[in-house]
């Protein structure tokens, strides 16, 4: 028992190392940005703008982390986001829909993808990568079929919701004219934070949450423990796609338009954020707080690179590549140490 305890402690330290690195890197980056780019980053609103712009990515990444913890992957989330945006946009603008209906459409699309993909992965035992690859192509294709041309939604009810700003007290700043401007976040940020909290609770305090880790860590052992592995895998994909539906609507709420090119590469950003946040591709390791900081790190890099006046988009790519590389090396070191036990 004592040896088991010791090894448990060791592992906690290792996994915690990943999380700590993520958080430290994020703060170093943010402080670096304040030092080298000045003014803008000193204002709290810059941070909230990053949150506003990445609320959808945060939701997608939470779902992605969950699937990755369970040992799978889902690369259809970007496509689902685009499909949700387009369907909601068409419904609101061409069919005089209301916002509640649009939300229902978004959730329904997410659930539909979740059920089909989850079933194929869990019960027919097809590789999650292949299943969600097909899902991605299907979603992107459907988006274009629903409507080819990009357009902005003019539905007044929706526009009012899109422009709703939730004031963050005490965080405002003085603008160029010397006027005090309140800091704000969009509705999407609140949704994203709620998703983070709910998922955090599920993973920590519920039996289902523990099942996810168990199945991802070693599905054979999980099976021997009497865990319904198939059902757990199914649920992880279902939740992920459902979150993609929510994330899709939040994305739609942020951009206010439908376009086939929406959320292009969002699935890769979600995977990158999860990895930066300490989730392992091999499954069984990861947590939502890490993912939260993974998303923040990724979007802060993008913000810094674009503010630095490096006009070439590949600078962002290179910085993210370097970060991913760092985290993967750290992860593999952690894994090696674990295996030596």
């Amino acid at each position: 028992m004592s040896s088991s305890n010791q090894s448990k402690r060791k592992k906690i330290t290792d996994s915690n190392l990943l999380l700590t690195i993520t958080i430290v890197v994020f703060f170093l980056m943010y402080i670096g940005a304040i030092l080298f780019q000045g003014k803008g980053f000193l204002k709290p609103q810059t941070f909230f703008n990053i949150l506003n712009a990445n609320a959808a990515l945060l939701i997608l990444s939470c779902g992605m982390s969950l699937v990755m913890i369970t040992g799978g992957i889902d690369i259809s989330v970007g496509g689902v986001t685009a499909l949700v945006s387009m369907c909601c946009a068409v419904y609101l603008d061409f069919h005089d829909g209301n916002v509640l209906g649009a939300v229902a459409i978004a959730l329904a699309i997410g659930l539909a993808f979740g059920i089909v993909q989850g079933f194929l992965v869990a019960y027919l035992d097809i590789q999650p990568f292949i299943v969600s690859l097909a899902g991605m192509f299907f979603a992107r294709g459907m988006t274009t079929i629903v409507n080819t041309n990009p357009f902005n939604v003019a539905n007044p009810e929706f526009v009012a919701m899109k422009d709703t700003r939730i004031v963050v007290p005490g965080m405002g700043s003085i603008n160029k004219l010397g006027k005090y401007v309140n800091a704000y976040v969009e509705i999407g940020v609140i949704v994203a934070i709620l998703v983070v909290i709910v998922l955090f609770i599920i993973l920590k305090w519920t039996r289902l949450g523990r099942y996810f880790y168990a199945v991802g860590g070693n599905s054979q052992s999980a099976l021997m423990l009497g865990i319904n592995v198939k059902r757990t895998k199914f649920l992880s994909h279902l939740i992920c796609s459902f979150l993609a539906g929510i994330g899709g609507f939040v994305y739609f709420m942020h951009v206010g338009s439908g376009a086939a090119s929406h959320a292009m590469g969002a699935e890769m950003n979600a995977i990158a954020s999860s990895i930066i946040g300490g989730t392992m591709l091999t499954g069984g390791v990861g947590n939502i707080i890490g993912t939260f900081f993974g998303v923040l790190s990724l979007s802060t890099i993008q913000n810094i690179v674009s503010s630095a006046g490096l006009d070439q988009a590949w600078w962002t790519g290179i910085t993210i590549a370097a970060m991913l590389c760092l985290f993967l090396v750290v992860q593999s070191v952690v894994m090696t140490r674990k295996n030596k036990k």
């Binding site: 028992m1 088991s4 090894s7 448990k8 592992k11 906690i12 915690n16 958080i23 703060f27 943010y30 304040i34 030092l35 000045g38 003014k39 803008g40 000193l42 204002k43 709290p44 609103q45 810059t46 941070f47 703008n49 913890i69 041309n149 990009p150 357009f151 902005n152 005490g170 965080m171 700043s173 003085i174 603008n175 160029k176 006027k179 401007v181 955090f200 993973l203 920590k204 039996r207 168990a214 860590g217 070693n218 052992s221 942020h254 951009v255 206010g256 338009s257 090119s261 300490g278 069984g284 390791v285 947590n287 707080i289 890490g290 900081f293 913000n303 674009s306 503010s307 006009d311 988009a313």
Partner: protein, 375 residues
């Protein structure tokens, strides 16, 4: 963790639990730090006495430029022109932001510029609609916005100071009028003109203007406009589109490409289908009409592959710079500023075209003109 009775598996399961516990601790720590950093920021702003800020705030005029992307040679030339005009030597500091073809990136960039308290915001919008909110924010912050290249579609014109760019409808009209004059000189009846249009990115001002002019001219002159499809301003997409046009229609003799990169794609597709490009459409050649006049485009014009290349001047930097100087000196500036643009061809049969009451000379392309092009 009492669900799992076997201690052997207990450790696997507890792994997640450990992280979660520690991460809660980390989270609260981080939250405190974050609040600290952010609060420090706002306090410092009020005190207005931070050393830092003085270090990074330059003396010159600070410009924030949100460029929509780097999708074509034209765009790159436009960016370079802006960077040259707003250089440090000229007394400016330029914050450049590449929107990567996404409106939300550009909106985020403008919000960033507002927070950075720049003196002017330049916006080259990726599309026309959806700018009201953010432009209002800039206006409320007292930062003048100058729109560059494409137009914004906002009800309240006071949201921007001025717009500088090309008259895309006039460009399209010039190309169509040239074709009209050319066919008259060569005695080609209008019903034998079979045109396909490779459009730009749908919704972009240049696409709207150039497509509209072609549609008007085709109706007026009785040309046969076979099909229109977007090539998204890229060579690869245009090649694909032209390939499908060629399979569908065997009588195409004029291709109206809405930028040079699309023209290159169309030329590739036509040549790989075993057809020839050129202005001799009576003998089975397919005529290419293009826009932008980049160096590469003019090279193809010189060697006769592009029959007519209509200029779309990307060198807006000096123009915008002089406008900002005017604003600084308290002078008023016009709401719409068009740049001057030429048309280039190798064909000498048309020397002059006229639209309305204005005549536009056709510039015969030479190696010298080509060599003097910087983009």
């Amino acid at each position: 963790m009492t669900n799992f009775k076997t201690s052997r598996y207990n450790e696997t399961i507890s792994l997640g639990d450990g992280i979660v516990k520690k991460s809660l601790l980390c989270l609260s720590l981080v939250a405190v730090c974050l609040l600290g950093v952010v609060y420090f920021g706002s306090v410092v702003k009020v005190d207005d006495a931070i050393q830092l800020e003085e270090d990074v705030t330059p003396d010159g005029i600070v410009i924030g430029f949100s460029q929509l992307g780097a999708e074509s040679d034209w765009r790159t030339a436009n960016t370079e022109s802006m960077k040259a005009a707003f250089s440090e030597e000229n007394g400016y500091e330029l914050f450049f932001d590449d929107g990567q073809q996404k409106q939300e990136n550009q909106i985020m960039a403008i919000r960033k510029f507002i927070l950075q308290e720049v003196d002017y915001i330049l916006l080259a919008p990726v599309k026309e609609t959806g700018w009201e909110t953010v432009l209002q924010e800039a206006k409320d912050a007292g930062i003048p916005v100058i729109i560059v290249d494409r137009m914004v579609d906002v009800a309240d014109e006071s949201l921007y100071v001025s717009w500088v760019g090309s008259d895309f409808e006039l460009e399209g009209a010039k190309a169509c009028e040239w074709l009209n004059t050319y066919t008259k000189v060569k005695n080609i009846p209008p019903e034998e003109i079979h045109i396909v249009n490779i459009q730009g990115t749908i919704g972009a001002s240049a696409q709207i203007g150039r497509t509209a002019s072609l549609e008007t001219a085709a109706r007026k002159n009785g040309w046969n406009l076979l099909a229109m499809k977007s090539g998204e301003y890229t060579q690869a997409k245009a090649r694909e589109v032209m390939g499908s046009f060629l399979r569908k229609y065997d009588n195409i003799n004029v291709v109206y490409c809405e930028n040079d990169n699309e023209a290159f794609g169309a030329i590739e597709a036509i040549e790989s289908a075993g057809r020839k490009v050129g202005s001799d459409i009576q003998n089975g050649e397919i005529m290419i009409l293009s826009f932008d006049t980049t160096k590469a485009g003019l090279t193809d014009t010189l060697n006769g592959k592009i029959a007519l290349d209509t200029e779309c001047n990307p060198l807006l930097g000096p123009r915008v710079e002089s406008m900002i100087q005017k604003i600084e000196n308290g002078e008023t500036i016009e709401k719409k500023v068009y740049v001057e643009e030429n048309i280039f061809s190798t064909d000498k049969s048309v020397k002059m075209i006229s639209i309305g009451n204005t005549g536009y000379p056709v510039t015969i392309i030479t190696q010298d003109i080509l060599d003097s092009r910087t983009y």
